[in-house]
Structures are given as C-alpha cells and as structure tokens.
C-alpha cells in the first residue's frame, strides 16, 4: 500500500524548543541528562535535527529498552511520543502505515477488534513502533513469525540533515537492513508500513505445563515446535537436579473472542526497598509460582493481551527493584550449544545469588533482516534466555562472566536489554558490524546520531 506523505517545509531553527530532561532506561540504572525536543509534527522533527548546535542526537521512543540504547547523556534526544498518528490501513493486505510514536497497545486497541494483531509483539505493549524497528523486536512466536523487520514493507527515514528517504527491502535495501535493528543510529524513522497478522479472535488458548529441569525444557520446546506461540518461565534460583525448572506456556489463537480486560490498573506506588528482593524471598516466590500450575498442566482461554503482555497490568513494575535499578541480560545461544551454555549461565547466576526474579526462555527459529538483528547467523535456530539482575556492587562482574559464557558458546547479547556488553564482545557477537558502520559513515559522515550505548560499545 502506498500513501503519499506531504513534503516537509523546514522551519527556522530558532523555532525548535529544547528542554533539559533526565532520561532513564527501563532498568533505571541511572539517568542521562540531555536536551530534548518533542516534535508534534514532522517538520518540527526535521528542524530539531537541523538545530542540534553540534550536539549529537538519538531518537527516544517509550524508553522500554532496559539499558542505554535510547539515552544520550550530555547530548540531545528526539522524543517521538507525539508523532503518534496512524496514517492508513488496507484491510485487504493488512498493511498499516503509521508514525513511529504509535504504540503497540494503540495498534492492538484499534485493530484486534477488526481481527488483526501486531505480527511480532514483544513482552510489553508500551513500546513504540519506532522502537520495534530499531531493536527488530521479537515475540513469543519468533520461531514461526520471525522479527518485526520481517513484516515491515517500507520505512521513511529522516537523516541527519533533516531530509527523509524511503527505504525498503527493494529500495535502498542496504540502508533498510542497517535501520532494522540499527538502535537508532542511522536516523529517525518517521513513518513505516507494517503488515499486521490476521487472527480469528482476540483470545488465545494457553496451555501451561510444569517443567522439572533444563534438558526436559529444551525437549519440551522442540516438541512444541508447531505451537504458534511458546515461552518459558525459569526459576533461576533452583539448582542441582532442579536447575532450569519452570513453566512452559504454549498458545494458539482461540476461535471465539472474550471480553476485553480493563486497562492497566495496578501500579507500583513506590520503590520497593532492596531487601525485599533477597534470594530467600525470591526463592519462596518462584517455588510457589511453580507449584501453582498443577502437575498435569492446565489450559485456559484468555484475552491475547493477558498472554502477550503479562507485566503490563502492573504499571511501573520496574520499581520493584528499588531505587538502584536493575540490569537485564538476554542472550541467544545456538541450538547445539544450548544445553551446556544455558546450564553454565544458570549456574553462574545461581552462584552469584543474584536473586533473578524473572527469567524467560524462548526458542528462536528465524533470522532477522537487520545487520544488527539479535536473531541472526549461527545462533539461529537457538535458545534465548533473559534474566533480571538487580544492580548491586558485584553485578557488573557477574554480567562480565555471563558475557564470557555467551561468547564461549557462540552466542549473542540482545542490545534492547543490554547495559554492560563490552566493545570487544560487540565485535565478536555481531559479525555484520563492519557493514553497519560503513552505512553509518555514508549516511551520517559527521556522526551526529550517537547514544550512550553506541559510545559504550565503541561505535562512536
């Protein structure tokens, strides 16, 4: 589907309003003071890019990346939240054209009643479409549906000079591939066309089963290969024979719809004191959670949102980790390495007594299109494990150990979650990094798109 977007008339630079803000990642590890512009329309975005006064800049969506991908301390940020319009929809093809600040929740609210779902919904519906492009996000259906970029028909990309160009798998494909998963470093996505997924109802039939240990888990995932949706929760504190025990959820679309649940109601009213999250309390919680599922498994039909975004019901749950925040670590290991690699990762976390509250395991089967897509290369097919790690004095050392284990097993760390990867690790884990940097050098020779993450990873 094609939609003609109006040409931009760039406003005088002096019209751009900047405000000092302190941005945070979802892990709340610290805040990055910067100058932020919040355009309400495209030409204001162009003017903001033209008027950085030598500062570098990065797009910032809903700030749902855990680490520093959307932060730019001492520089500038372009907040995309007010560029939030849906521009066109073709019911025959399912293609939606929208501005980047439209959230996944918006898309679902409008289109699920019409029988369409976002093709690869990540675990939070608060993320924006621009953020979904820039991290090439995946959902619990990755093994079948791939990543977000696989469903993008084209993008409008605003470059450092404020000019916009359309890129797609056939039109300037190299820039397209650099932008999918490009963590905002090629420019600002100002519009995109994404093909939505046709679904029979708003509901899913979810099956949950207890899994006793790691090897059983990997087998269960393989056995569930044909399930449209699958995801596993892991009790990261269980050790010994129970190492890797958890609950596997698989789901299919239900034939009929259910009532729409009320939107986020509960909120974390304050930062939880850190001592609440000691290994003992988390251990007790995890054990109770595991036992709640009957030994023979259970099956329920729920609204898709309940299955896809379980944490979104508790607003501000990231405050659970207290004022010092938390890291999230997510890696992808090639299938052959997964049994040993995952074991070592879980043992490493267990030894550190890091009280990982939420650990999620998932099987990934399709390569993404982006040069920096998380899902690519040898690691596909493979298993991805995500862990929360509360920020403590020793957590950096733990993250370094986890990085080594990941590398030793030919794995890769996910940038959407990352706050600790080393520059060397980046080079080793992202084989197309050289090509990516070449595209950046061509599109943005002055290096104006830059973030805390890009500088930490040595990408400039």
């Amino acid at each position: 589907m094609n939609l003609v977007l109006p040409k931009l008339a760039v406003r005088a630079a002096s019209d751009v309003a900047w405000r000092s803000v302190a941005l945070q990642g979802w892990g709340r590890l610290g805040s990055a003071p910067c100058q932020a512009a919040r355009p309400e329309r495209l030409r204001e975005a162009a003017a903001a890019l033209a008027a950085q006064n030598g500062r570098n800049i990065i797009a910032h969506g809903a700030g749902r990346s855990y680490g520093d991908a959307a932060l730019n301390g001492g520089g500038a940020a372009l907040l995309t939240g007010r560029l939030d319009r849906m521009l066109g929809f073709d019911a025959a093809s399912g293609v939606l054209v929208a501005e980047p600040g439209v959230t996944i929740a918006d898309v679902i609210r409008v289109f699920l009643p019409q029988g369409f779902l976002l093709p690869t919904p990540p675990g939070t519906a608060f993320a924006t479409l621009g953020g979904a492009v820039a991290n090439d996000v995946h959902g619990k259906n990755q093994h079948g549906a791939g990543c977000f970029g696989d469903h993008v028909e084209w993008l409008e990309l605003m470059l450092a000079d404020g000019r916009t160009r359309r890129v797609s798998p056939t039109q300037d494909p190299v820039t397209f591939q650099a932008t999918i998963g490009g963590i905002g470093l090629t420019g600002v996505v100002t519009a995109l066309a994404v093909r939505l997924l046709r679904v029979p109802s708003n509901a899913m039939r979810v099956r949950r089963q207890r899994i006793g240990g790691l090897d059983e888990y990997l087998d269960a995932f393989r056995a569930a290969r044909d399930a449209t949706w699958s995801v596993g929760w892991v009790d990261a504190l269980a050790g010994g024979a129970a190492l890797g025990r958890g609950i596997l959820e698989t789901a299919e679309h239900a034939a009929g719809s259910v009532a729409v649940p009320a939107e986020a109601s509960r909120r974390m009213p304050f930062d939880a004191p850190g001592f609440l999250l000691n290994p003992l309390s988390v251990r007790a919680f995890n054990a109770a959670y595991w036992r709640r599922v009957p030994a023979g498994g259970e099956e329920r039909v729920v609204h898709a949102n309940r299955f896809l975004f379980p944490l979104d019901g508790i607003g501000g749950w990231n405050r659970l980790y207290g004022w010092s925040g938390f890291h999230q670590f997510q890696c992808l290991l090639p299938e052959a390495e997964a049994p040993r690699g995952l074991r070592r990762l879980l043992e490493t976390v267990g030894e550190a007594g890091a009280a990982s509250f939420l650990a999620v395991l998932k099987w990934m089967g399709r390569e993404g299109r982006g040069m920096l897509s998380f899902a690519q290369g040898q690691a596909i097919p493979g298993f991805t494990l995500a862990l929360d790690i509360p920020a403590r004095p020793c957590s950096r050392a733990l993250l370094l150990r986890l990085e080594r284990v990941t590398r030793d097993h030919g794995g890769r760390i996910y940038l959407a979650k990352d706050s600790a990867l080393s520059p060397q690790g980046m080079v080793e884990m992202y084989p197309r990094l050289g090509a990516f940097q070449e595209v950046r050098a061509r599109l943005d020779p002055a290096g104006r798109f830059s973030s805390d993450m890009s500088r930490r990873l040595g990408l400039g």
């Binding site: 109006p6 309003a17 900047w18 405000r19 309400e40 030409r43 319009r85 849906m86 918006d106």
Partner: protein, 249 residues
C-alpha cells in the same frame, strides 16, 4: 456506521490540546473538522481519527489572522458539518513576556491571534450556530487571564479579553440555543509549555481533554481544568497587592 449526530470543529486543529480533544470527540462518535494553517499536517491527524474511530474527519484551511476569510470559512464549515456543529477554540500563541516587550510586533501578533482572530471567527460562525438552532462553543481560556502576573501578563491579558468577549457572546446567543464554556486551563503538557521550566499541576493532554470533554457535554460559563485550579486561583485572586507583588509568579 450511523451518521454522526454532531460535528466538532476544532479551530487550531493542530494544537496539542485540539488533537487530544478531537480524539475524545471521535471516540464518542462525533465527526471532526480540523481547522488550521498546516493542512498537510491536519490531514495526517484526520486520517488518524478516521482509522482509530471510524468517524468522518476532514481538514479545513483556517488562519486566525486572515479576518477577511472568516465568513467564507464559516459557510464552508456549515456545509461540511454532519449533524449539529459544535466548536472548540483551541488556537493561540504565547510568546514570552520578554519577547513581547522587546518587539511590539510580536505582542501585536499575539493579540491579533488570541483576541481579534478569536472574536472574528466566533462572530462569523454565530449565524451558523443560530441557524441550526444552537450549538456548543468551548474556548480555551487560561488561569493566566485571572490575575496578571509579571511573567506573562500580556498573554494573560489576551485570555482575559477573550473571557469577556465570551461572556457577551454567550449572553447574546443564549436564547438561540448557543451554550458557551470558557475553560480556564492550568498548565498542560503541550508544545506551548515544553520549553518552560517545570510547571505545577501539569496535566497530560489526554487527561485534560477527557475532563474538558465531560464539561463540554453540559457545562456553561467558565470552569477550571484541572479542577485543582479553582481553589488555587481563588487564593491567588484574593491575595492583597502588597503580598502578590512580592511573589515572583
């Protein structure tokens, strides 16, 4: 879908508040006309309203400063409207007091927009409202118009002038079924306030629009949004000058 029973004409349809209000109106099934200077931009917002809410939404060219065009504009709106035409007056400018003092042309432009332009377009639209047997007019006034403060008394003066105009306009057209509501707005997190330092009781556009939409159903006269500003402004209005003048508001 049934034909809409009402159409909301948003004057300043590209403003943050206007956009948020249009979402509420469309969610309630009303058709929307977005009026402003940047028609390309308004067309994008109109597309969004149509997609999200399945209501008719159209953009119309409108410049508050182009007084001669207001009558023609009013006639065009009358033709475009489905069901009863209602109005939200949501355009306005707020250059800083310092800029207004440094350059009288800046001050004049603000007065021309916020007062002359507003009065002119409402006057041009009055026959349309009367002709259809009535209608609702909601205008965005401001707490800044309730007592002149050092920081923005020129802007405040335009909102005070608008308020007086609206009183007379309401009285004049009341018996023809026209209901007028002057919303005394506190700070809203919009493009207008983005460059300013943190303001107290800042409302999000969505919250502000929801409250304004509820009031728009029945309210008349004037009302504070968010409501907390009613008691706050009562105190501020009551402060004796010798105290007020010492506060750097």
């Amino acid at each position: 879908m049934a034909a809409p029973a009402e159409t909301w004409l948003v004057l300043g349809g590209g403003s943050t508040i206007g956009r948020a209000f249009a979402q509420r109106a469309a969610a309630a099934g009303a058709a929307v006309l977005l009026a402003g200077r940047d028609v390309g931009e308004l067309e994008r917002s109109a597309a969004d309203l149509r997609l999200r809410h399945g209501v008719p939404a159209t953009s119309v060219l409108f410049d508050a400063l182009d007084l001669d065009a207001h009558r023609g504009f009013a006639r065009a709106c009358a033709t475009l409207a489905q069901g009863q035409l209602n109005l939200l007056l949501a355009f306005g400018t707020m250059p800083s007091q310092a800029d207004c003092e440094a350059d009288p042309a800046v001050a004049r432009r603000m007065v021309d927009t916020n007062v002359t332009g507003a009065a002119s377009v409402l006057t041009a639209l009055a026959p349309v409202l009367r002709g259809q047997g009535g209608g609702t007019v909601v205008a965005l006034g401001s707490v800044a118009g309730e007592r002149g403060r050092p920081r923005n008394h020129l802007y405040g003066a335009t909102k005070a002038a608008l308020g007086v105009f609206l009183q007379g306009y309401a009285a004049r057209h009341a018996r023809h079924g026209v209901r007028v509501l002057n919303v005394l707005a506190g700070p809203v997190d919009t493009a207008l306030t983005w460059p300013l330092p943190k303001l107290p009781f800042m409302a999000s556009p969505a919250t502000f629009a929801a409250a304004t939409w509820r009031l728009a159903r029945h309210g008349a006269g004037q009302a504070h949004v968010p409501r907390v500003w009613a008691p706050v402004m009562a105190v501020i209005r009551a402060l004796p000058n010798r105290i007020f003048n010492r506060l750097d508001l």
